[in-house]
């Protein structure tokens, strides 16, 4: 059972890792498209509205798509006064609590309210609000769903991690999301060792 949980967690991490690797390159896309627009405008005196839309949309797609990857890497800022020095078991408890009470309800609410919003956009193939802008605004809007879904998935992986740690099998936690050891853990291990 625990092995199955570990397998699930590592599968999810793989998905978000892959998405992070791919969608991060959109940042280079933003730079290049925006720079092209600038050169066209200032050097050649022309501009295309769709290109303006494009680099803006790339940014929106990028930061939503990699949110789950960033959570996997633990890039999202924490107030770590108490969290960072705490024992791994304590951190696992906090993450279990937070994921169940904060992250999953949040992603759930975003999913519930964005599904009709996105579905409608697809139904009439919504394009940019700018005349002459990009087609396919519905694709960008779909990234709100991807954002919530990928975060929720990574949330499941965090729950798996907490369960593994609390069940005393932290060795099964996938390397990508393994907790760093702190002084408190060494102390705890020493105390456990004395028994």
């Amino acid at each position: 059972m625990l092995r199955l949980i570990a397998l699930l967690a590592s599968g999810i991490c793989r998905i978000n890792w892959l998405i992070g690797q791919v969608f991060s390159w959109l940042s280079l896309g933003i730079v290049l498209v925006c720079f092209t627009v600038v050169v066209q405008r200032y050097v050649f005196g022309v501009s295309f509205l769709w290109m303006q839309d494009l680099y803006i949309w790339l940014s929106g797609a990028m930061f939503t798509a990699v949110a789950g990857f960033a959570l996997m890497r633990d890039d999202h800022v924490r107030v770590d006064i108490f969290y960072r020095p705490a024992r791994i078991r304590t951190r696992a408890l906090v993450d279990l609590f937070g994921t169940v009470l904060f992250l999953l309800p949040f992603t759930g609410v975003v999913l519930i309210y964005s599904l009709p919003f996105v579905r409608r956009s697809w139904s009439y193939a919504e394009g940019s609000a700018n005349v002459g802008g990009m087609p396919g605004l519905y694709i960008l809007k779909s990234f709100i769903i991807a954002f919530a879904a990928l975060l929720a998935l990574q949330g499941v992986a965090l729950i798996c991690r907490s369960v593994l740690v609390l069940a005393g099998r932290r060795d099964l936690v996938p390397a990508a999301i393994r907790y760093p050891e702190t002084g408190a853990d060494a102390e705890a291990a020493a105390i456990e060792g004395m028994h």
Binding site: G20, S59, V94, F102, F117
Partner: protein
């Protein structure tokens, strides 16, 4: 009980509830959103909150995802990360160090100058202080600098970049203040208001940024004169001296020109911050390529860092949106309005109160979280009381920087502690920062006494 009162009580409790839950250490963005959802549910139970209001979330999110102003954020982050990963920033620091090294205090001066230029193009306090700490601290200690002075200089100049433009913090602040300003001016019946833009905020922050740099430099020079032991000169070997001019031209001038060009084109009104940022990002790649450092690995590291930092910042914004929706619709706005507008002492007292709250929040939260939570709920009231939006934005920046530097909770101190050599005592970091906190307080007092330090340049540019 009166539903309005219930709503306001819940909104107030939510603010403190969030702070309590944040201390657990779960990521801020999701704690903000999750706790707000809980209070929304309680409000629903009492009939003071309608969950259909959450339909506003996808609408707000797509608004952020299609904002032309906010695209400047990933672009500036890309520029900053590229300069750092391709080690152009490090080279800049080393060259600057050699240039001033012959002087007592020279190394400190160069750390301050480079910090002001480069720092926080990412806008994330931790990241900048860590980078500065890793590069500069060992060099300063090796040169025989007093650890107290070294850590003070690094923390102060590592957080300075949030205020010295270009800064991602100012982009978000400018975006928010520009909308709030137009709302407030119309509401006041001012049909011909002066619009506020990100560019205006950059212009407003320039002189206060220089002023802080000046204060830090003055302090370092003062130390060099009164306490030469604390910051000895680091003589440059003769053979390096011979190459120094070449090094200045290759390592110092190009990034300096790039930064000046980006900033100049924004302040000079030639380009928007977004356009200038894209030129900066391409420029950083060109500089890296010229030094044969634009490898696939570095490019890959840069895009991943850019994407994850951008995501982290924007996700906080998305989480804070949940807070705003619940807080506003349960009547929290009225609560804040009543609180701030009935304070004795009027406008200045109201500003001081908001600054005090932000300062305290600065002990647990980073810049973005604080401004995303506090600015939308307090700035409308303050601007309604005729507070200048640009002055307010810059004051918030300097105030938060001070908070990050103030022991024992200042963020910057924790981050530097994390990368400082283990034998460097924590009290040295705390002691070292105290004079700089003093300078910050002096700067805040000057901004209060002479608001023109902020407002003069934007007005001059606007003509």
């Amino acid at each position: 009980m009166d539903p309005v009162l219930i709503g306001e009580i819940l909104a107030g409790l939510m603010f403190f509830g969030i702070i309590g839950f944040l201390l657990l250490g779960y990521p801020v963005a999701f704690t903000l959103a999750g706790v707000s959802l809980m209070f929304g549910a309680v409000g629903w139970f009492f009939g003071v909150f309608d969950p259909s209001n959450f339909g506003a979330l996808p609408n707000r999110y797509i608004g952020f995802m299609t904002s032309e102003v906010l695209v400047a954020v990933p672009l500036f982050i890309f520029m900053g990360v590229m300069l750092e990963r391709s080690r152009i920033a490090e080279q800049l620091l080393l060259t600057m160090g050699k240039l001033f090294g012959n002087l007592r205090g020279g190394l400190g001066i160069s750390v301050i100058l480079v910090g002001a230029m480069l720092a926080a193009s990412t806008g994330v306090v931790g990241a900048t202080v860590v980078t500065m700490g890793l590069i500069s601290l060992p060099a300063m200690l090796r040169a025989g600098y007093d650890p107290k002075l070294s850590t003070g200089v690094i923390c102060a100049s590592g957080t300075l970049g949030q205020i010295v433009p270009p800064s991602t913090v100012l982009i978000f602040m400018g975006d928010m203040l520009s909308g709030i300003n137009s709302q407030v001016q119309m509401a006041k019946g001012n049909y011909a208001p002066v619009p506020v833009s990100v560019g205006d905020l950059f212009a407003g922050a320039l002189l206060p940024g220089f002023m802080l740099v000046g204060l830090y430099l003055a302090y370092t020079i003062f130390k060099a004169i009164t306490d030469p032991e604390s910051c000895p000169a680091t003589p440059v070997p003769a053979e390096e001296k011979a190459n120094l001019l070449r090094e200045v031209f290759s390592a110092l001038i190009p990034p300096l020109l790039l930064i000046l060009a980006v900033l100049g084109s924004i302040l000079g009104g030639i380009a928007t911050p977004t356009e200038a940022a894209s030129v900066g990002a391409v420029g950083a790649m060109v500089l890296a390529a010229l030094r044969w450092r634009l490898s696939f690995t570095i490019l890959r590291e840069t895009v991943i860092a850019t994407a994850t930092i951008t995501s982290m910042v924007f996700i906080v914004l998305l989480g804070a949106s949940v807070f705003s929706v619940v807080f506003r619709l349960m009547g929290g706005d009225n609560l804040v309005h009543e609180f701030l507008s009935t304070l004795p002492g009027g406008r200045l007292m109201a500003v001081a109160m908001v600054m005090a709250i932000m300062f305290l929040l600065g002990f647990i939260l980073d810049t973005f979280e604080i401004i995303f939570i506090v600015i939308p709920i307090t700035a409308p009231v303050l601007l309604m009381m005729d507070v200048d939006p640009i002055w307010l934005g810059v004051l918030v920046g300097v105030n938060l920087q001070t908070s990050f530097l103030t022991p024992p909770f200042g963020f910057a101190l924790f981050y530097l502690r994390g990368v400082a050599p283990p034998d460097l005592p924590t009290w040295a970091i705390y002691r070292g920062i105290i004079p700089f906190v003093g300078l910050q307080i002096l700067a805040i007092a000057l901004l209060f006494a002479f608001p023109g330090i902020v407002t003069w340049l934007p007005r001059l540019i606007a003509g």
